[in-house]
């Protein structure tokens, strides 16, 4: 171990400033729907082209850490997740803000993110090579099983009617499959449109179904005083923290593993942790979906733990753990390094530099997160007549920014108006987005599994029976389904 490299970004004022500024910028970028961390980091690759490597990496690590956390801000205050990793946070964070507890919700998410981030860094520092070796053992069938595990969440997200939740999930899967089939290059649901060959970005659907539909639904309510926020206490009391600590730790564990898997990232980690919180919490103070503290802690701990997790295969094997680390690998390359399995052997200082850097970014997150919480919470007090138009413009420009497409803006508006209508009839947006995220993963993983077994489902099943990872995942699915049945709630 080389402590001077761990401390490098702490002692060098330029690196320190780059990390801190990156984290602060990341929080804002993350909070704005449509501006993604991936986008920010790829712009930074060009921007920091002429810089030395370390400040460039420090800035990017800060943006990554802050950005994943920042998504929770808009999820809590506006019910618009700033990014896909914050979808689960909106489910209970927004109801908390509606109760006047936006400040407390931000405080909890900040601490949960910080803790998750620390555990992610710890896993990276202590177990990176071992975790990476396990991660690459996940076969396509295991990704399929993970997606099925994630899909069990439909039950929790459906609201009152499971039938409506299932319909919404099916619709989401369909929307996710629009475009060129990645395996056969056959166009699906494109009906001759070239624009549709690239599919419908699920961020556009997320902004439409959550952002626009929510903003319009707010106008439907009779004029009311904006909710006064109790912002006296941002940092939750010690007893609360201790009570939620086990859940935050388990969620962080989920985050590290899902983040380290090369085929999944923070979005799926957060959703799975939310599902876990729902199933494992007995008697929450507020029911899930109407502002349970557990419902914001679990996803936020998981998505920030997934940051450290995503660095694991990137730094040890040169394999990206998610979309952001894929861009980071490109950045290393542009800066004259050879990202790959030899990176850690030939330039071990880079590994320890990153560990120290991420640690610092998490501290910056804690400081900026808590410091800015009060001001942010005030956003929920802006009168609707001003806030709603502003949100709508942000939704439009955010969607346009995803890939400079006006067509995407029309899709987003269509989803928003449809979503408004569907809400009136008791449909929830959650399962649609869940279907869009998990559908393509399931489709591709299922087909890879079956193709590899010579188009023989039975042969694929026999192969799965010989794999420890697959058996564990199957056991988890069976257990969850059985337990929900025994509670008489129906599947999931």
């Amino acid at each position: 171990m080389t402590p001077e490299h761990v401390l490098m970004s702490w002692l060098d004022p330029v690196l320190f400033a780059a990390t801190a500024l990156g984290t602060l910028a990341g929080i804002w970028i993350g909070a704005i729907p449509g501006l993604s961390v991936t986008m920010a980091v790829s712009i930074l690759v060009s921007f920091t082209f002429a810089w030395p490597l370390e400040p460039a990496l420090a800035l990017m690590a800060g943006v990554f850490t802050g950005g994943v956390y920042g998504g929770s801000r808009s999820a809590i205050l506006l019910n618009i997740p700033g990014g896909p990793a914050a979808i689960a946070t909106a489910l209970d964070g927004y109801p908390m803000a509606q109760r006047g507890e936006a400040g407390a919700a931000i405080g909890l998410t900040t601490l949960a993110s910080f803790l998750g981030g620390l555990i992610g860094v710890a896993a990276l520092a202590l177990g990176a090579p071992a975790i990476a070796e396990v991660a690459i053992l996940f076969a396509p069938r295991d990704y399929l099983l993970l997606a099925v595990l994630g899909l069990l969440l439909v039950g929790s997200l459906s609201g009152e009617s499971l039938a409506k939740g299932l319909f919404a999930a099916g619709l989401g899967v369909t929307l996710g499959l629009v475009g060129l089939d990645p395996m056969t290059a056959e166009p699906r649901f494109t009906y001759g449109s070239v624009e549709l060959l690239g599919g419908i970005p699920y961020i556009a659907a997320m902004i439409g179904f959550f952002g626009v539909a929510e903003a319009l639904s707010q106008l439907r309510l009779p004029d009311a005083e904006p909710i006064r926020q109790r912002i006296g206490r941002i940092v939750p009391p010690c007893a609360t923290l201790l009570r939620h600590l086990p859940l935050a730790l388990r969620s962080s564990g989920i985050g590290v593993v899902i983040g380290a898997l090369p085929g999944t990232g923070g979005d799926i980690a957060a959703l799975m942790a939310y599902d876990h919180a729902r199933r494992s919490t007995r008697a929450p103070a507020h029911p899930f979906g109407s502002g349970a503290e557990e419902g914001v802690i679990a996803p936020e701990a998981a998505n920030n733990a997934a940051v450290g997790g995503a660095y694991v295969p990137m730094l040890t094997l040169g394999i990206p753990g998610d979309a952001v680390t894929a861009v980071l690998i490109g950045a290393l390359f542009v800066h004259g390094l050879k990202p790959g399995p030899m990176l850690m052997i030939e330039t071990p200082h880079l590994f320890w530099f990153t560990v120290g850097n991420l640690l610092l970014a998490n501290l910056a997150l804690l400081a900026f997160g808590l410091a800015g919480a009060r001001a942010f919470a005030r956003i929920a007090e802006v009168p609707r007549a001003v806030l709603v138009p502003l949100i709508l413009v942000l939704c439009v420009v955010g969607t346009f920014a995803i890939r400079n497409s006006l067509t995407d803006v029309w899709w987003m508006l269509g989803f928003g108006i449809t979503g408004y209508g569907l809400r009136l009839y008791g449909f929830q947006p959650g399962p649609i987005i869940l279907g869009m995220i998990l559908g393509p993963l399931m489709d591709a993983s299922w087909r890879r599994t079956v193709i590899a077994a010579g188009d023989d489902v039975l042969a694929a099943a026999i192969e799965a029976a010989g794999s420890t990872i697959s058996l564990i995942l199957v056991a988890a699915i069976v257990l969850i389904v059985l337990r929900s049945f025994s509670r008489g709630k129906g599947p999931a």
Binding site: T184, G198, M342
Partner: protein
């Protein structure tokens, strides 16, 4: 007063001005990258562009517009005005869009500002496999039909095309399992979920150097500098020779009817940028072969590539529409 007529006259005057009377470019350029952030095309584009900006004296704003194996970006640049202000940063894919039935636009509709570099393929295998040569691999596939799995990246991708060459040169048929890209495919290869995979040297070099995957043969008539010890495919199977050299490539295009002075300005800026020593070194380190060609020379290269690959796919039964329909000549 500004009437419609005066406005029209102003517009006409603006248009009538000789194209380069003023310094060109008049504003920032837009560069549309046809693959996502972090991909090989993206990395080449982002590494090259700062050098070009210096030569051009203007900024190029880069945007990723992935999707439809490049068809979306190609279509978008094709729809933009032919003023040279919208650049297409692409790879080889559009040259196959016609035969794969994806789109009617290919590089014949664009002017090659620069074909930057080309890559070479290498066949790699999981380290637990006994194969030491391509012949051993082919013998094993023949002896155990349906048991050996090849990693791929979808139709028209490098593994698919090299797989088609393998089918054409040897009698074997393999099971191709498509992944989302070369990176995910190499990951699956290391996890043992597929047994071998043809990939670009750029993607595999570091994994080979670390001993995590085993090189079987390079898809080139002779060994390549990055992997001097690896035998060429032609050593075991001389039949490959008629397709080679073959590989993916990266380049920059503008619409074909862009005014000649603008084309010349861009060609010059990109030629200077791609010759920057830092960039040259970057390409070499990554196992790419720098080309830095433009105009007629690039057109000839693109035509040959399209002809070889389209007919190969046609013979392998992988083309949806015959190259003949589009007047693509046989190699």
């Amino acid at each position: 007063m500004l009437t419609r007529r005066t406005l029209g006259a102003l517009a006409a005057a603006a248009l009538a001005r000789p194209a380069l009377a003023q310094p060109w470019p008049p504003r920032d350029l837009t560069g549309i990258i046809m693959w996502g952030a972090g991909g090989a095309t993206d990395v080449v584009a982002r590494a090259l562009t700062p050098h070009v900006e210096a030569a051009l004296g203007a900024k190029i704003v880069l945007q990723n517009r992935p999707g439809g194996v490049g068809a979306i970006a190609t279509q978008a640049v094709h729809a933009a005005p032919a003023d040279g202000l919208t650049l297409l940063y692409g790879a080889e894919n559009p040259q196959l869009h016609k035969v794969l039935g994806l789109a009617q636009i290919d590089y014949a509709d664009f002017f090659p500002v620069n074909v930057i570099a080309r890559g070479v393929g290498v066949i790699v295998a999981n380290t637990s496999k006994p194969w030491t040569s391509l012949k051993a691999l082919v013998d094993d596939i023949t002896a155990n039909p349906g048991r050996v799995r090849m990693g791929a990246t979808g139709p028209g991708g490098l593994p698919h095309v090299i797989g088609a060459m393998l089918n054409a040169v040897t009698p074997v048929r393999v099971i191709a399992v498509p992944f989302d890209g070369e990176g995910p495919g190499l990951t699956a290869l290391q996890g043992g979920h597929v047994d071998f995979m043809p990939v670009g040297v750029a993607a595999a070099a570091e994994h080979i150097r670390a001993g995590r995957v085993k090189p079987i043969a390079v898809v080139n008539p002779e060994p390549v500098p990055t992997l001097p010890e690896v035998a060429p495919v032609t050593a075991d199977f001389p039949g490959f020779a008629r397709y080679l050299p073959w590989g993916p490539f990266y380049g920059v295009w503008v619409k074909r009817d862009t005014p000649a002075p603008v084309r010349a300005r861009l060609v010059e800026a990109f030629r200077t940028g791609a010759a920057n020593p830092a960039f040259v070194e970057l390409m070499a380190r990554n196992g790419n072969i720098l080309m830095n060609i433009s105009g007629d020379e690039a057109d000839a290269f693109l035509k040959r590539w399209q002809s070889v690959t389209s007919w190969l796919l046609q013979e392998a039964g992988a083309a949806r529409r015959s190259p003949e329909e589009f007047g693509i000549p046989r190699p």
